[in-house]
Symmetry: C2
Subunit: 315 residues, 2 copies
């Protein structure tokens, strides 16, 4: 399906339900509301939904959004690589998705028609190409939605998926009232008190091995209980150990809630292969980010892990 066909699709369909993925991020929310605005501009009825209510940190993306009551006739998913990512609330639509607009090469092709480009830094960038290509009017709010997805998925132009196209799009979008300073503050700087407490707690307990080449944090049930912070705030800590100067392998051990043993998240820098490291324990992943599970007490797991690190580093 090319962009001309996509425009034709929008022209010939009505009453859209736009699905976004669970645990929403700036790209799925930005894509959802960008598309809502595009469809509204074409005189269509649409609504944007998620597994849960959208977190308030994204409220600047639904400026001008009006929720209306109608029976959806066209189901579209944005930035949703797999129908399982829709979540329980939206699972009734899993097999009814007419169109999916995405940028994950891993897209499962669950929709009847899919527009996916793995070279696009964000799903909003795919929408932006469509808007430019087909001469769709670009408004301030659409520009802000597109920028937000782009900034979110590239870590504000920091990650390896940042392309020259991403920078050029950002330059073009700055001609609109996108208030990118505020967008980036909301996406990257602001943290809940709970999250700050968690980060501080794990940093306090960080362990350093092999002259600082290996750093480790241990998120035990005891630590979680001790902080008194909601468990959701303990997600996404895996990048912290590798922030330490000199570290080449950063390991996060997280104790299972419901069974014995630990989940490991491993992050590395050149030349350490995180995937090879985790394969020893039956896990896997990418060269710089991988994971596995290990049974045992904290002491046993640590001993196994450190022995494997010692071998890998040739210490």
């Amino acid at each position: 399906m090319d962009f001309k066909e996509l425009k034709r699709f929008f022209e010939t369909h009505d009453d859209y339900l736009i699905l976004t993925h669970r645990n929403p991020d700036g790209d799925t929310v930005g894509s959802g509301f960008a598309l809502w605005n595009v469809l509204r501009g074409m005189g269509k009825r649409a609504k944007v939904v998620n597994n849960e209510p959208f977190p308030s940190r994204y409220d600047f993306l639904y400026e001008g959004y009006e929720d209306s009551e109608f029976s959806p006739r066209t189901i579209v998913a944005v930035d949703v690589a797999d129908k399982k990512l829709l979540g329980d609330t939206l699972s009734e639509y899993e097999d009814k998705v007419e169109l999916c607009i995405d940028h994950h090469v891993s897209n499962k092709g669950y929709a009847k028609q899919t527009i996916v480009d793995g070279n696009a830094s964000s799903a909003t960038l795919v929408l932006y190409r469509f808007i430019r290509d087909q001469g769709i009017p670009l408004t301030d709010i659409i520009a802000k939605c597109i920028y937000t997805g782009l900034a979110t998925d590239t870590g504000c132009f920091k990650y390896s998926n940042t392309t020259p196209e991403a920078h050029i799009a950002a330059a073009e979008l700055m001609a609109y009232d996108i208030d990118f300073v505020n967008v980036n503050r909301r996406m990257f700087d602001i943290k809940s008190i709970g999250r700050m407490t968690v980060e501080s707690a794990v940093t306090n307990e960080m362990e350093h091995y092999f002259g600082g080449k290996c750093t480790m944090i241990c998120v035990t049930k005891a630590l979680i209980d001790q902080t008194g912070v909601d468990i959701a705030e303990f997600d996404g800590l895996a990048s912290i150990p590798l922030q330490v100067e000199g570290a080449v392998i950063g390991i996060t051990l997280r104790e299972h809630r419901d069974k014995a043993g630990f989940k490991l998240s491993v992050r590395t820098t050149d030349p350490v292969d995180a995937s090879a490291f985790c394969r020893q324990f039956g896990g896997g992943g990418h060269i710089r980010a991988a994971g596995c599970e290990i049974d045992g007490t904290l002491e046993e797991v640590k001993a196994k892990v450190l022995e494997a690190v010692r071998e890998m580093l040739g210490e």
Copy 2:
């Protein structure tokens, strides 16, 4: 002085000493080594100096750099807004700077000739314009130096000084071997163990007032001694209190080392005026970032500050 005259300047002068500012950042170091490479390409001798040895985190910018012995005849400063920023080691050159290339509107004009553009996001961007305008060969290392300055001074394209030109330059520079992922990791993600300890300690002690609208950290002599971390690691903490969700005024109190009383750094978001807040205590600054000093014990200073916050927030 326009770019044509600048090129003529370089052609007609020899044996350059390139001065960078003390407490060097990615922009002054990037500008220094970019210019060194440009001058070498023109067959000139040059060296790049700083008040102190360059920190090792910038070593990727001096790939291929050779320090040679010669008597400098042409003194050039890059990204140095004020001769006082050269530091003690370089103070002998304060009144001998022939040329300054900078992007600070506040540049004092201490050099015989100055090229300054306050609209450039970084000093390296001024150099980039010159390189493009005059058809100077752009190499991988020059591109990497320019990108580093640009990323550093814009907070990786996050701060309000980010311009469309900055994004377009980044897109163009990505055609070279700049390894921007590694550059940004070094500039933004990596922290010393000491710094992590300090951030964790101040976050642990963070105080929340007025329903979370005001957050405060107190860097006392006792806290500094207790952490056992080098005092330099306690700089630049002022942005932390405002990272808390819901905070509109973030205050950092820092106890003076050598006298009684505290230095305040105040950061705000819309609509709180940090400058107006600090003027009450004889200080000043910008609308979103300001400072002042207050005498008294920690308890006395806190009481004064919180009373002023109460009034400002209308609580």
